[in-house]
């Protein structure tokens, strides 16, 4: 993922008007939208796995407006969960009653939305990194949580995102335990985290992980930590969920 280079000819995130023809080029993916008649457009997409999707879009007018935006990484290979499992490439050690703040590269997918007067409808979604879009299990097979799994590297700051592949997310880890603790992963429901974009970069709402003791068990509460930014917020269609509690280990 780190060796990935960005071609400047790739289409940027944002809104596009389609009068007659539009071609969006993303890493190993091409999207074509063409007007095929009065109030009708065709949609064609070929992705990095060679999969082709074709659709017809009837419209009220002879103009079509779409938005290309980063979305949560929950759709490839199939929508099965709202949880994300981020495995850090380096473990984080926190001494007792301390806190740390890190930035990580969180995987994303790319959504194509149809813009109508008041709302946006999801037309299609793409992943430019299908080989790293996989599932993982947090916990045991019978009681565990199925998650989208990703091994993530630390980022320097919010400007460090890899276009079309990931967005930068801030994670605040707070250790309220009376002993030091090593954290190597975080599991959370990403449906409450908004994504924001500018050109081809993306950032996400952060999360706050609080390590604490419940009875005799060390657990971690994970809560969304919204960011204040002037970047444009991506459309969404998932419903939000409340906080996540990691009860099945942090290492």
């Amino acid at each position: 993922m780190n060796e990935y280079t960005v071609d400047s000819s790739y289409s940027k995130y944002g809104q596009y008007n389609v009068d007659d023809h539009l071609e969006l080029i993303l890493p190993e993916t091409i999207v074509k939208i063409e007007r095929i008649g009065e109030h009708a457009f065709s949609y064609f997409r070929k992705d990095s796995e060679g999969k082709v999707i074709e659709k017809m879009i009837p419209t009220k007018s002879n103009e079509l407006k779409i938005e290309l935006a980063p979305i949560r990484p929950l759709n490839h290979p199939a929508r099965r969960t709202g949880y994300v499992f981020l495995k850090f490439d380096k473990e984080i050690y926190l001494s007792q009653n301390s806190a740390a703040s890190i930035y990580v590269h969180c995987p994303i997918e790319i959504g194509i939305f149809l813009i109508s007067e008041s709302h946006r409808e999801s037309l299609d979604w793409i992943t430019c990194d299908p080989l790293n879009s996989r599932f993982g299990l947090y916990g045991s097979p019978d009681t565990g949580t199925l998650c989208k799994y990703s091994e993530v590297t630390l980022a320097n700051d919010y400007s460090d995102s890899t276009p079309y592949l990931d967005g930068v997310m801030k994670i605040i880890v707070e250790n309220n335990l009376d002993s030091g603790k090593t954290v190597s992963k975080v599991v959370f429901s990403i449906t409450d985290n908004s994504l924001y974009y500018e050109n081809s970069k993306c950032i996400l709402d952060g999360i706050k992980v609080t390590l604490k003791k419940r009875a005799v068990v060390n657990i971690a509460d994970v809560q969304t930590d919204p960011i204040q930014t002037d970047w444009k917020q991506s459309p969404t269609w998932e419903t939000s969920t409340s906080k996540t509690t990691m009860e099945m280990g942090l290492e």
Binding site: P77, R80, F135, Y138, P141, D142, G144, T145, L146
Partner: protein
Amino acid sequence: MTPIEFLQGLSEMEIIGGLTVLSLLIGGIIMAAGIISAKIAKLIFFKYYAPTLPQDTAKNFGKIIYFGIIVIAFLVFTSSQGIDFSGLLVAGGIFAVVIGFATQSVVSNLISGVFLMIEKPAKHGDTIQIPDMSISGTLLDIGTFSSRVRKFDGTVIRIPNEKFFTSNIRSFTASTVRRAEAMVGIAYKDDIETAIDAIRNEIRLTMPFVLRNPEPEFRVEELGDSSVNIQVLVWHPRDDWSQAQPILLTVIKRALDKSGIEIPFPQRVIWDAKD
């Protein structure tokens, strides 16, 4: 003839034991009102409350509401007409014994159905297997007397609740994930680590539903007569069995072919005693 005179006429027409045509008519009206009320109550229940309940529970609550109102209507009818059932008690007792023997299996199925609803070994939509009966499929519902399972060939099989309750039930949907397994033999001349790396890499590239955590597991199961047998175990989301188990061997074979690793035929080395 006025309507009042007509009703008076009906009240004087006795059918049997003080039961008149008028009281029968009133009873009919009460029962009709009861059935209509039961249907309306059932409809309201299914529209507003059932969606929040599990399907089996909702169905059974619906039945309780429907038949409960009808029984109440019947009791209202009998009490309003002063019908006395005490004479039926003795005959009813004997009749109950006879019916009890005759409907033993029916009652047994009914009681088993109640216990199935309480214990809930499986719920509507679960994929289950009943090994004792060699039945696998999707549980459609647990009814009052029987349960229905749609087999994978599309046919629906009805199982009496008593048999269902006393059988072993294997649930394929109780866990979040499931494991697919395959066994492959490689030639003794080939390197085991190379073979495992090749299979692991091919699974990683071509099986998107295989979990990265826990990782695929490889066990050298046996040093067989003709080959070193390696067991491959991969986890996948429980609903994506078809994306793992049926294609796992294909992926393994492709990985070994690409790496030039031989899957040997059964072979036997024969030594000539003279040599």
